[in-house]
Amino acid sequence: MLTLEDLFVVVLVWGIVIICAWFLSKYLFFVFMGARNRLDRLFLPIENLIYWLGGVDSSRKMGWKEYFKALFYLNAAQAIIAFFILMFQQSLPLNPMHYPGMSWSLALNTVLSFSSNTNLQHYNGETTLSYLSQMSAIQFLQFTSAATGLAAGVAVIRGFAGKAKTIGNFYYDYVRSLTRVLLPLAFIAAIVLIALGVPQSIGGYSSVPTLQRGAYEILYNGPIASLVSIMQLGTNGGGYFGANSAYPLQNPTQLSNLFEIGLMMFIPTAILFLFGRTVGDNREGRTLFLSAYAIYGIDLVIAFLSTTNIAQGIEVRFGGVTSAFWTVTTTAFTTGSLNASLGAFNPIVILTAFFGMLIQGAPGGIGIGAMYLIMYVIVTIFLVGLMAGRTPEYLGIKIEGRDVKLAIAAFLTHPIIILIPTVLAFAIGAEKAVGVTSNSTGFTTIFYEFTSAAANNGSDFLGAAGNTVFFNVATGIVMWLGRYLPILFLLAIADSVAVRKRSPSQGLKTGNISFVVILVVSIFILTVLTFFPFLVLGPVLQFLQGFNTSVGGVIFGF
């Protein structure tokens, strides 16, 4: 049932985040859309030094192939260097705990996961990773994958706005994402987190005697606040600890809990407003914002309806309300951090988590969420155009056959890379090796694993239990396909519409509320229809079975 607490939490967090995101979108416009700014005096010399040291040209306009190639090569190089850090951490500095290197398949999974902004973790950080690995493999990739996502989102927006007649230059977008957006915001966020009780040290772990005679505890300590700041801001989600944000040192109080929820919502929300600013019509940004938040809001209401009590798997200091709020938000924004155990939730909450990950644009991850929303807009306009017998148009641009094909290709990437490996896992019996049985609960677990991987979310049921060669390699491949194929397709669309002729719109108006309704319905129909059989076999069946034994049992004597 909806309670006053639910309402209080949502109004408080949404209100603050949306207002801050509106101002951030103004700032992002200055950062990425070429306007001069007072901050140039501070940032330009640093950025020019980075371009010079990197030997890259930040001023040349790039076509979609060149933009994608620069993005992909950079991400690949980053994954490779992180792979070696993880495999050979025992021979590298800052390892006072003397942890051995990761196995090849676990290291591979980890770098594919973090470079693709997924942050699926088949390990427990506090007992596996050295300080250097946490900093120079994990935090490093959390920054760069967020900057990559932001760059790709900005490029697609720039292309659709068409003012610059180009999608831009990757290095320009990437470097500015880091210097002007992610590093300054993470700096502020890390200081707030330390003040709220998140540790920041490299002093090593110690065992201390606790109050009761004979009892000890390991005092974990590390560069935790700096990691958590970028993990939430960059919609990464991979925690310092295996228990992620349920672990008190990563999320000490309700205040830090709500602050971290706000952090993950902040930039993706601002990008929706940035879209409106860039195309020169705030109503277009409002359409994306309202559609994304409508779906997110519906998910929240459904999750709140099934009351979550402080029971096994829920931390007392957060309570049921903000645990459900976090779980819906972390999947809606494809962050993937968790402040409770997924097993603690009613299957209905898990179902809403699935919706967030299957849609990916409600509002989705940093940069990428806006990109997916634009994909849904294209598909929707095409469908409505078919029904009304009109040429599909968006922002005065004629949508051509190639655009629709590419948008559909991006949309279909997702079901293909989720459904095939899920079926494959059961076909070869890989689920048994990770202790999962072949019933509806087990099906949900494996389906969730690949959905989370494909959506670059990273929350999961398996955790360190997923550390088998099959799941490491399979989810690794899924994470990269789910990341780079849609980016490639959307960049291709954006590049071709960037130079296309624009005429005053004759077609469907997209800046009004009725289009918001059409878009929301269309997104639900497209995703639910695609995944319906899988959802039925997993969380829906689980819910009905639970219903059968609880309510049904009492009333009908089943």
Binding site: L53, V56, Y73, Q78, Q212, G313, F318
Partner: protein, 147 residues
Amino acid sequence: MTRLKSVSGAVRMTVISLIICGMIFPLVMTGIGQVAMPWQSNGSQVYFDGKSIGSELISQNFSEPVFFHPRNDSASGVDPDITMADAMSQVPRIHNATGIPEAFLNATLIKYTQRTLFFFGTPYINVLDVNLYLVEEFPAVYSQYIQ
């Protein structure tokens, strides 16, 4: 040639990003944390008799009947808090083991009550805080149970 150039650009940009984001940033934050907020930065440790007895944020192993006990099942496994209802249910056991009046124990719980949503939500208490208070109030009772 262009491929070689884009690969070299990728490698060099990778090294620069690694140094800035993966080394300078966390180390600068560590410096700031250690200087400006050393207590939080080092894990919010609680001191008793001048010695650290662990983090206020991490649940401790309390198994003797004279203490309030934490819960063992939660998402993190080290949940430092228990609900008020859970704490209340432990009052008779502690009273029987220590002789401390139930009224005093209940008053202590009320004194240490926090709520999940600041001023409303589920009431709960931090187990270590309450146990530490009892140890300080009744040193004679507790001396044989502590380090």
